[in-house]
């Protein structure tokens, strides 16, 4: 499958986005807009979810079997597609979270920041 190559920057971001999406869904099923909204609010509006990558990410996660989806009613009572964490997704989240923590710690050590 030919897909355009991404820069290493965005690839790391992509991985991060996956983790954030999974994390958001631990609380329960949500649709795309809610997911983006939660991430933004939880990061105190620091992280801005690029919609252009949110939906491909959701699509990819669903393909890998970490998410499942269904059509349900949204807050304002319209049909919306909801995403739900699967068991495999939950395991993946644990893995990614610990990996993320390791990386953050390792990088912190290298650039000489004190551990809080």
């Amino acid at each position: 499958m030919a897909r355009s190559k991404k820069t290493s920057d965005s690839e790391m971001l992509q991985g991060t986005l996956d983790m954030l999406v999974l994390k958001t869904l631990v609380m329960g099923p949500a649709h795309g807009h809610t997911i983006a909204h939660i991430i933004e609010q939880a990061s105190e509006e620091f992280l801005q979810v690029e919609q252009g990558s949110l939906y491909p990410a959701l699509h990819r996660l669903e393909d890998r079997g970490w998410l499942s989806s269904f059509w349900g009613a949204s807050e304002n009572n319209r049909k919306a597609k909801f995403y739900k964490l699967t068991a495999a997704g939950r395991r993946q989240l644990t893995q990614e979270t610990s990996r993320w923590r390791q990386i953050v710690r390792a990088i912190g050590l290298v650039i000489g920041e004190d551990e809080a």
Binding site: M1, G52, K81
Partner: protein, 879 residues
């Protein structure tokens, strides 16, 4: 990426669109809450989301497989272009359907007969044993009871040997008295074959003793046909040969081998086989022997083993194994025994059908090539727009494979429709024909040849197209009629076609001549208006000559009264009924010393009543025929045929000479000579035959009634049967057929083979001529301007015509030469199927070559005429 998503991309894209809309709607709503006005809320929501199209495209791409996608695109393009030129498509599909259908139908037969394993366990271990008297003739001789015992005890190569012979008995206890074909087998017979009963048990060792109660096994077909597959058949009693037989088991469906038996009984139940005379007589060789080899034993080892035993027997019983007879043992693997006649014919037909398909492929390649050349501008544009040569090649390939698969589906239909006819045809050659049906292998075969065909006829235009030059775009319309390279490819295709069809035509020609020879054989007797029927005798009832004579006289006397019956006779055999061998007997000839160790002269012995020669219209050459006066009380007489007279009394009058059938104890006087007849089959040579009057000799077989009628013979059949049943209500009447029917049945196989091969060859010839004409026509179109210039410069029409014909006939001539070589190398496969024609005979190829040249010339004249009519002014201006 899941395959499901690939095929449902449209739907999931639609979902995504709605999902995005919903997202934006929610965002807009949020913005409204934040206090923005309607317009701003929408605007910000849209800005925040960014390009909706890009998201959709990204995900669409994520859901695609490039190869699949291109293939699908090619496929839909192929379907569109094919639908746009329905003429080409229909022609191509039908041509291929016929070719693939013919191949698949013949493969279906081959699959059922040659490829499917026999329904026995480890069939490769089973062999058929036979003896031949190598110095007397090629005919197989059976085994005697003594010999079976000796080989069973002494051989070390077999895990077991089983004996078999077949009889016809009357079975009482079914709805009506039934004549059943009965396989008489040793108790181990079905174990040697490795067959399990579908019901009950097999015949076992304890059944094969004289004191055991007689048992029967039913064949599957008989059980279904006669008893509706009733499972309560087990234990049911039937009377045969005046003894009660109990059904103990039913066999699974099996090939009709060695015969189409209805029931099976152990050897001890057969009055013939269990008689002391039969058991003790080492020379009564009537049994068939099948053996199961010990695992790992090779055929050479078995042969050596059998030869050793044979030599030992010859030493112990020199009288039974005279050196001059040259008795020898031969083993044939069962598979081969069952298929040897069918094998070569079927493979030959598959080869012929395959050639026709190849020819069709060549024509379609040619057609597709012209189509492609017309489309070369399109190709050039696609190349210019960035298509790779592989894209072009693949697209043409997809197109041809689409056509081929459509042809394949239609062809499978044709195969299904024709296979029934072929089964009847194959049944004449092999007992395995009953198991012919379409199965997975056949479908796979049909699919595979369709695919191969598609690749074959798509690859040539595909290859040429993929080499298209961009310069074509700049060129003018003239080039589109074909490049020089295309022309050469076409000439090669045409030459190949001619060569293939030449081979087919020669084969068909040989078969036709052989059939003609068979048809023109004079059997020596008149087959028209003769009715024959078999009267299997109840041996317990008509055991001696006296009771037989009374019975026969009654039948003849009363049947003679039927209006429409001209003459009537009983005989020990019906000519041409295909059972092959007559009763062969050693005779002594008066005045010739019997050399000890030399076998007696062998002649065929036939019994008949006086009118036999009149019924069949066999001319008396000298002497007299049998009369009512030849009885048990008068002197014993015989009539010999011309061949025998010539053989034993050359240049002498045989009348009055005497022969003996019992080594000189009693003598029989020759009173007449009749002309020789082909009674064993029209392709069989004459044999030495001695006829004896039925009234003087006890019948040992089943007599046949022969009636010459004034009009349509079959009309008399019922009356004759009624008369016989009035005389003896228990007497079965079987095999009611006219001699014409028997004669036609004999010709059936060669006739169908010739028709099939002839049809294939005819189709091949047609395809080839279409190829020759079409190619030349294209070349004339391409050369219109050139020809116009030639005419303008003063070339005569004659010169133009000759030039064009030369162009057209050159590949034909090449093809004929190639075909002649190929035919010389391949026609020997026909040798076993030919009668009276040498497979390497020179007349046929020469005749075929002339035929091909004439037809091709006629084909070439069509474009030739067009060439001479070219108007030079128009041709030159038409740029």
């Amino acid at each position: 990426m899941s395959v499901r998503r690939f095929f449902f991309r449209k739907r999931s894209d639609e979902d995504l669109r709605r999902e995005i809309e919903e997202h934006i709607e929610l965002e807009r709503y949020l913005n409204l809450e934040r206090g923005l006005n309607e317009k701003e809320a929408s605007r910000h929501a849209l800005i925040k989301f960014g390009s909706r199209q890009r998201v959709r495209e990204d995900i669409w791409r994520m859901n695609s497989v490039t190869f699949f996608e291109k293939l699908l695109r090619d496929l839909s393009y192929a379907v569109r272009t094919l639908v746009r030129s329905p003429g080409f498509t229909i022609l191509a599909v039908i041509t291929l359907a016929l070719g693939i259908g013919a191949n698949t139908a013949i493969f279906t037969v081959i699959n059922g007969v040659l490829l499917r394993p026999l329904p026995y366990s480890n069939p490769s271990e089973i062999v058929h044993l036979e003896q031949t008297a190598t110095r007397v003739g090629p005919d197989r001789i059976g085994f005697s009871v003594q010999e079976v015992q000796d080989y069973r005890q002494q051989s070390r190569s077999f895990s077991d040997l089983a004996e078999y012979h077949t009889m016809t008995f009357t079975l009482l206890g079914a709805k009506v008295p039934e004549r059943v074909v009965t396989g008489v087998v040793s108790a181990n017979y079905f174990n040697v074959l490795g067959v399990k009963p579908v019901l009950g048990r097999l015949i076992n060792q304890s059944d094969e003793t004289m004191s055991a109660p007689p048992v029967l096994m039913l064949s599957y077909a008989y059980w279904v046909k006669e008893f509706g597959a009733d499972p309560k058949i087990l234990g049911r009693p039937f009377t045969m040969n005046d003894r009660v037989h109990i059904v103990v088991g039913v066999l699974p469906p099996l090939p009709e081998f060695p015969d189409a038996n209805d029931v099976y009984m152990p050897t001890t139940s057969c009055p013939f086989r269990s008689s002391q005379g039969m058991i003790a007589n080492r020379d009564a060789r009537v049994l068939t022997v099948l053996g199961r080899l010990k695992p790992g034993v090779t055929l050479t080892e078995v042969q050596a083993d059998l030869n050793t035993i044979g030599n030992r027997l010859a030493l112990s019983y020199p009288k039974s194994y005279p050196p001059a007879a040259g008795l020898a043992m031969k083993i044939t693997p069962l598979q081969q025994e069952l298929t040897h006649t069918a094998r070569s014919t079927l493979l030959m037909l598959l080869g012929a059908a395959g050639l026709v398909l190849l020819l069709a492929c060549a024509n379609l390649a040619n057609l597709a090539l012209s189509r492609q050349l017309r489309r070369s501008r399109e190709t050039a544009i696609r190349l210019a727009a960035g298509a790779t040569t592989w894209d072009i090649f693949r697209q043409l390939m997809v197109e041809s494979i689409t056509v081929a698969l459509a042809g394949g589906v239609l062809g499978l239909g044709i195969a299904m429709a024709t296979v029934r006819v072929l089964v009847a045809y194959a049944a004449r050659m092999t007992p395995l024909a009953t198991d012919i049906h379409l199965d997975g292998h056949v479908l796979l075969f049909g699919f595979a040849i369709a695919l191969i065909t598609g690749v074959l006829f798509g690859s040539i235009p595909g290859f040429i197209a993929s080499r298209s030059r961009l310069s074509l775009l700049a060129g003018s319309g003239e080039r589109t009629a074909g490049s020089e390279g295309g022309t050469r490819t076409r000439a090669i295709l045409v030459a190949t076609q001619v060569a293939f069809s030449f081979v087919l035509l020669v084969g068909a020609g040989l078969m036709m001549r052989s059939l003609y020879n068979l048809l023109s054989v004079d059997p020596g007797f008149k087959t028209a208006e003769v009715l024959s029927m078999n009267l299997p005798l109840n041996w317990t009832r008509y055991s001696d000559l006296k009771t037989q004579n009374t019975f026969f006289q009654q039948i003849l006397g009363r049947a003679q009264q039927i209006p429409g019956a001209q003459s009537i006779a009983l005989s020990s055999m019906v000519p041409l009924n295909g059972t092959g061998e007559g009763m062969n007997e050693g005779i002594a000839i008066e005045g010739r010393a019997v050399v000890p160790g030399e076998p007696l002269p062998q002649v065929d012995r036939q019994l008949s009543t006086p009118d036999y020669f009149r019924v069949l219209g066999i001319p008396m050459l000298s002497g007299r025929t049998f009369t009512e006066a030849d009885t048990t009380d008068s002197v014993k007489v015989t009539i010999v045929n011309a061949q025998m007279a010539q053989h034993y009394w050359p240049h002498l009058d045989p009348i009055g000479r005497r022969i003996s059938t019992d080594e000189g104890k009693t003598w029989t006087t020759v009173v007449g000579v009749v002309s020789s007849v082909h009674q064993y089959g029209i392709s069989q040579d004459f044999k030495d035959v001695a006829y004896f009057p039925q009234a003087q000799v006890t019948f040992m077989g089943d007599p046949s009634l022969l009636i010459r009628t004034r009009n349509e013979p079959t009309q008399l059949a019922n009356q004759v049967s009624t008369i016989i049943h009035q005389i003896d209500p228990q007497q079965p009447v079987t095999d009611i057929r006219t001699l014409d029917q028997l004669r036609n049945a004999q010709l059936g196989t060669p006739r169908v083979t010739s028709i099939l091969l002839g049809t294939f060859a005819g189709v091949a010839l047609f395809i080839t001529i279409v190829g020759v004409t079409g190619t030349l026509g294209l070349s004339v179109t391409r050369r219109t301007k050139e020809i116009g210039i030639r005419i303008a410069l003063g070339a005569t029409r004659r010169e133009i015509l000759l030039n064009v014909l030369r162009h057209g006939m050159a590949p034909v001539a090449t093809g004929i030469v190639g075909g002649a070589i190929a035919a010389a190398l391949s026609t020997s496969v026909l040798s076993s199927m030919l009668f009276g024609v040498n497979p390497h005979d020179g007349v046929t190829p020469v005749a075929i070559a002339i035929l091909l040249i004439i037809v091709a010339l006629i084909g070439c004249l069509i474009p030739g005429r067009r060439a001479v009519r070219i108007d030079p002014m128009k041709a030159l201006r038409s740029e």
